[in-house]
């Protein structure tokens, strides 16, 4: 039962996948992608947890090392920034799509495109 945090992150990831497949609105798909990112980040941080470990910072409270694994945290830091970049990019793309087709619903977009073709 100690693995519950893993299950939680997997379930969030599943929710993200479910969102991407089930949602028609493209913006909701982008949000689902962001949810997946978050889930993976939670999972990675959880992987580095050592029982009774502390935040990996030398300070007056923790002058001597009894830390959780800092490396996954560093990786997550990078992953978060990448996620932010993709989120920003995706939203601008959506602005473009909305301007071009007047909608973010793929069905409506397809209708307008087929008229054009």
């Amino acid at each position: 039962m100690s693995n519950i945090i893993y299950y939680v992150s997997f379930i969030i990831l599943g929710i993200g996948i479910y969102g991407i497949v089930s949602q028609k609105n493209l913006f909701k798909q982008l949000i689902s992608l962001s949810i997946i990112d978050t889930a993976v980040n939670i999972f990675i941080v959880a992987l580095g947890y050592v029982e009774w470990g502390e935040a990996p910072i030398y300070s007056t409270i923790t002058p001597v090392a009894n830390f959780v694994d800092p490396l996954p945290q560093a990786l997550v830091l990078t992953a978060i920034v990448i996620g932010v970049g993709i989120l920003a990019l995706g939203s601008v793309l959506l602005v473009h799509i909305n301007e071009k087709y007047g909608s973010l619903d793929p069905d409506e977009i397809r209708d307008t495109r087929e008229v054009v073709e």
């Binding site: 996948i17 028609k24 793929p106």
Partner: protein, 604 residues
């Protein structure tokens, strides 16, 4: 041989740039090169071996190489000669000349090497070079090019697959090294390899079921190039068939089936039968004279295949002999058509008529050509057909003999259609000012006529080449003595027959000259008693010429349609793929899950 190929490769470039100075220089380069090639290869001893560009012993000059190279070079020299004038009508003269030279390079290369990969390379060079000449023809020729490349690719990739199969078994690409060991392999392997290797030959020489490209390509290619296509490039396919049937010990590789013919040959013979049938009946139907001759090529490809597949003393020789006959005849006929089109600008039979009065030499060329195709003495066409018949009858293969016989009768019918429609009958009003083709065009046609009749009367020279081939492949050579040819059923003296024919011809000519001539009435008068006509062509008597025959097989299944519908099915699948592409990322995620599930389900 190496130097000849090198000259040809360089010649292609030289031809291109010289053409820019004067269009006519391109064909002249080709002519010079083919005459040079003819001279060299004629004198080359059989069995010489040479390197090519540093690859050792790639080129090998066999009797079969010699035979096919000489046919090729004759056809090409006549074609080049003819082109000197005709080139002014070509759409892209520079590229036309250069690519023609490249085609010659490719085909000669095919004949000169037993190394299967080198052969494939030369083969594809010839295909690509000719490929880009074809769309210079009529409007539909672009579509014809697709037929050409697809069917040709099917053939050549079958060949490539077979080549690599052999390589993986024997570790060499040299055909003659392989042929010694292949008999000991498993039956399935032998069938597969033989069928794959012959695939290229079948596709190229227009044998059923890969015959469909001929009508489009020969019919729509530039007029003179059709002569090369039918007279020469198709013979590349015959070469492949002859090479493999000769070099492989087919007789020991496959079990005997019927009358001393093994099962593999029997399959080929049936393909030949069907080709003859299809070619003949479809040719009867055609209104376009070039397409008509294209189907005739299919039928004659069938003859050659039957002859070669018989693999015996008489039949194999007959098949080889038929190659040269058909090459000459087809070249002659297509060149005369080119001359007609050069003057009248159309290929439709019912738009012409009575050109005998305006273009007598062209008419004679065509006449001799069709006589040879139909297999009437004293032309060489008779000799080869006689040999094939002899072999079939002596083996008791009466069904096949019947097919070939039907083909012969049919060829009388279809060759007569352009004869009557184009040359005989009455002159169209729009053709009043048509002149005979220029002298330079007539000369190669006359040379071809002379060769056909010469080899029809004195076939020794050709038979020497043919028997050389047979000897080299370890077959019993065909027996002949001067102009007398022997088979198990009897013999035949072409000189005697020629004399008898000449006597008959002279008698007929005398009667024709002495007899009173008929009176000429304009064509339309015959039908309408002088009424006004809206469409003259409908009343042209070449329209629906063989309606009584065509009615019998109207609505027949068409392989062209069948292949087109296969392509349509493929396109429908492609449309499905395209549909998937146009979905959103949601659908893609589904595919990702599917792949993931597959990866989990199929355990490592």
């Amino acid at each position: 041989m190496q130097s000849l190929l090198l000259y040809l490769a360089i010649g292609a470039l030289v031809g291109y740039f010289l053409s820019m100075i004067n269009k006519r220089l391109g064909p002249i380069v080709l002519l010079a090169l083919s005459l040079y090639g003819l001279f060299t290869l004629w004198n080359m001893p059989i069995g010489s071996v040479e390197d090519l560009f540093g690859f050792e012993d790639i080129l090998q000059f066999t009797a079969l190489s010699k035979y096919f190279s000489i046919i090729t070079l004759i056809v090409f020299s006549c074609y080049a000669f003819f082109n000197i004038v005709w080139i002014s009508k070509a759409k892209r003269p520079y590229a036309f000349s250069a690519l023609s030279i490249l085609t010659l390079f490719g085909t000669l290369g095919v004949f000169l090497t037993p190394h299967l990969i080198a052969l494939y390379i030369f083969w594809e060079v010839a295909v690509v070079a000719s490929l880009f000449i074809v769309p210079m023809g009529k409007e539909e020729s672009k579509k014809a090019t697709i037929w050409y490349i697809v069917i040709s690719s099917i053939g050549s990739y079958m060949f490539l697959y077979g080549t690599f199969l052999l390589y993986s078994k024997f570790g060499t690409f040299n055909l003659f090294e392989i042929s010694g060991d292949i008999a000991s392999e498993g039956t399935g392997f032998k069938w597969l390899v033989s069928l794959l290797l012959l695939g290229a030959g079948v596709a190229k020489s227009g044998i059923f079921p890969l015959h469909v490209w001929l009508r489009n390509v020969h019919g729509n290619a530039p007029d003179t190039f059709s002569a090369v296509l039918s007279g020469q490039l198709v013979k590349m396919g015959s070469y492949i068939i002859a090479l493999f049937l000769g070099a492989f010990p087919i007789a020991t590789m496959f079990s005997q089936f019927y009358a001393g013919v093994n099962i593999f040959s029997y399959v080929l013979i049936w393909l030949g039968n069907i080709s003859i049938l299809i070619g003949t009946f479809m040719a009867i139907k055609q209104n376009d004279m070039k397409m008509l001759m294209a189907y005739s090529t299919v039928a004659n490809g069938g003859y050659i295949l039957i002859g070669l597949a018989l693999l015996d003393q008489v039949g194999f020789a007959g098949g080889l002999f038929h190659v040269i006959n058909h090459a000459l005849a087809a070249t002659m006929i297509f060149l005369s058509f080119a001359a007609v089109v050069y003057r009248t600008g159309t290929t439709k039979i019912d738009e012409m008529g009575g050109l005998i009065f305006k273009m007598p030499v062209t008419f004679v060329t065509y006449l001799v050509g069709i006589i040879s195709i139909a297999g009437i003495p004293p032309t060489s066409g008779f000799v080869s057909k006689w040999m094939i018949f002899q072999s079939l009858i002596s083996k008791g293969m009466f069904v096949t003999a019947m097919f070939t016989f039907v083909g012969s009768i049919g060829s009388f019918l279809y060759v007569f259609r352009p004869l009557a429609g184009v040359f005989l009958g009455q002159l169209k009003r729009k053709d009043k000012d048509v002149k005979e083709a220029p002298m330079i065009m007539l000369l190669p046609m006359i040379i071809l006529v002379a060769l056909t009749i010469l080899w029809g009367v004195f076939p020794q020279q050709v038979l020497v080449w043919v028997t050389d081939v047979q000897r080299q492949f370890g077959m019993e050579p065909f027996k002949f003595d001067g102009t007398v040819l022997y088979s198990n059923l009897g013999h035949w003296d072409s000189w005697t027959v020629f004399v008898m024919f000449m006597v008959g011809f002279i008698i007929a000519a005398v009667i024709y000259i002495l007899m009173p001539k008929g009176k000429k009435i304009p064509l339309d008068d015959q039908y309408t008693s002088g009424e006004f006509l809206h469409n003259f062509d409908l009343y042209h008597y070449a329209t629906k010429y063989y309606a009584f025959l065509e009615r019998e097989y109207e609505g027949h299944p068409s392989f062209e349609d069948w292949y087109t519908s296969i392509v349509n099915v493929l396109k429908a699948i492609g449309k499905g793929v395209d549909y998937l592409v146009r979905r959103t990322a949601s659908a893609y995620t589904f595919w990702m899950a599917l792949v993931l599930a597959l990866l989990l389900w199929v355990r490592w």
